[in-house]
Symmetry: C2
């Protein structure tokens, strides 16, 4: 079976590492000449809107998926005429736009921070009056890793903020004094079967995920699964979906969804019976889902900008390096490592050991 | 770092799956146009003795290894002028020839079945007189998966046997009424560091490995490690070495070594903290060795001739398919699956479930 992937970065690369042992072959469409997934499959070197090359991918592949949510809607619509594309176009449409996304949460009864649609500086000022400060202003589309957003703390931060974010449609979100950020990696098969990994505790720095720790019997697991299930069903979703929440006052407020395999699920490669990557591939190809149960206690640390010396990473027991084969560049995710232990006390010590290597 | 592999079959493929996350790139030299490892690296499509292409590989790669022991000696000698080759030429010379191999065991005080060098039918008859029947006659080189051998049970089996095996140098081995076949996957780094996986119990059928079960605290573990350590040191070995033993009367008799990653170590991909593939790559690139400790209880079943329906394999809990992407053909190893459980009772049930799929 041949799998087409729109995008050829590290997520595509890890999909191929998971799918090759299932006998799958991979085709990546990516405009970057150095797309790091190309080591593991065919690279169609073309723009995402290049219909000739999209048609080539559709003709070669049995199913197409993507590794980032800002795939142009036209790309998915065009491909869908010729080949199944999962997750579906509607899921992408919702997930790529923070306004549609938050509105869907609201419609499904899933708590969110207060939010408002911002089409102008006047909209922004009205929304600030209603929601109050501090608040976070984010572009409705194309934001990731803290890009395309601005925290508004004082009235003077509001002045000119709409222009500052490019005079594009935005959303204003009320500030949530959360106790923690958690994510749920969910997966739904073509037959509607669902599975959920244990909640993950995430630590961000400057908008970029640094550390994810898989939780043990988190008290909000069932609530998170309930919320995710509503979304999966609403969207008739197929594949892995990541759901990010703020944990606040013993409850959850939905932050955002990502219609794809997700950085906070990378620990599942070694830390779960079946990884998020294999489960995504199982889902989109109609195979039974694999177990999401943990194998020991796990944590994942991102390598931002550069990968520490490999001989030092590999000297840590049960530490699994994932080097993405990308050029090193400040602020860029270039790899991660997963730690696996038999208990959480040992895990904490191991996290500290790895953090010392990274210098955090 | 770029790794060259002589041979591009499933072992090369699994090496690349293990090494890609370490940031390594792979080059396979294999005369087969459909070499299954090529999905994961560059394929130099050439004969093993093609010096132009060997030179190309040496120039491109930082280190070269191989996935089968019958690599021509000249190939290794030629490559070694330009690039480090591990395991070394001496290890290959010994491991590819059953006479050299058994003689080394004897020199190192490692018990073996009785054996004799056979260069003619007369040699064979003299050896049968000394060793007795039943006995096993094997070609000194190029035998694998039960090929190139003949069991001699009765005097009439001896008649013409030398010609029957091709009138090539052979070895005669006394029959060992063994209680079981076990193997030890050992690894030695460039700095002499060694590590050993738990002993594996192997079940063969018609000379082909069918089932490997990783043992728990096997009483002969220390003895096997002692024997393997003698061999690793004698050969100044670098990389993974598989050591097959017969278990008899509470002791071990050495059967053979394979100077490479080995089918009976495939379970380590999911069943050990660091797999034999990653450890081989760590060893030959001078990285610290990874932990050989088990993760749960594991067994591996080979798929011979064909891979059962994938939807049935993936329906078994914590069952990990490894499809080699090779054309199906009777008697050919085309894939395997590893089962992982928390206890041995569950593992036995799971093995039966998978065996039912294979029809054994």
């Amino acid at each position: 079976m041949k799998i087409g992937v729109i995008g050829g970065g590290q997520l595509g690369r890890m999909l191929a590492l998971a799918g090759t042992p299932l006998g799958q072959q991979f085709v990546f469409l990516d405009p970057a000449a150095d797309a790091c997934a190309q080591a593991l499959g065919e690279h169609i070197h073309a723009d995402y809107s290049d219909r000739d090359h999209l048609r080539q991918m559709a003709d070669e592949c049995d199913v197409v998926t993507f590794e980032f949510e800002s795939v142009p809607a036209d790309t998915v619509a065009f491909l869908s005429q010729f080949v199944p594309v999962f997750p579906n176009a509607e899921s992408l449409r919702i997930a790529r736009d923070r306004w549609f996304e938050k509105s869907m949460f609201q419609d499904l009864g899933i708590p969110t921070p207060e939010f408002a649609d911002i089409q102008s500086q006047a909209d922004l000022e009205a929304a600030v009056t209603r929601i109050g400060l501090p608040a976070v202003m984010k572009t409705r589309t194309l934001g990731y890793d803290g890009k395309g957003q601005k925290v508004l703390r004082h009235p003077e931060d509001v002045t000119g903020a709409f222009a500052e974010l490019g005079s594009v449609p935005c959303i204003l979100e009320g500030f949530v004094p959360f106790q923690g950020e958690v994510s749920l990696i969910a997966v739904r098969g073509r037959n509607g079967e669902t599975a959920f990994y244990p909640l993950v505790l995430n630590v961000h720095d400057k908008g970029i995920l640094r550390l994810s720790v898989a939780s043990a019997a988190h008290p909000l697991q069932a609530l998170a699964e309930d919320y995710a299930h509503r979304v999966l069903k609403q969207l008739d979703y197929v594949g892995v979906l990541a759901f990010e929440f703020f944990e606040i006052d013993g409850g959850l407020k939905a932050n955002e969804i990502a219609p794809r395999v997700h950085n906070s699920g990378h620990w599942t490669i070694e830390g779960a019976r079946c990884s998020q990557f294999e489960n995504h591939l199982r889902a989109i190809t109609g195979l039974p889902l694999g177990s999401t149960a943990k194998v020991g206690e796990s944590a994942m640390l991102n390598f931002i900008g550069e990968v520490p010396p490999i001989e030092q990473i590999t000297a840590i027991d049960d530490c699994h390096l994932h080097h993405y084969g990308k050029a090193f560049k400040a602020g860029r995710k270039v790899g991660h490592a997963t730690l696996r232990c038999t208990d959480n006390q040992a895990l904490d010590a191991r996290i500290a050991e790895l953090q010392a290597l990274i210098g955090v």
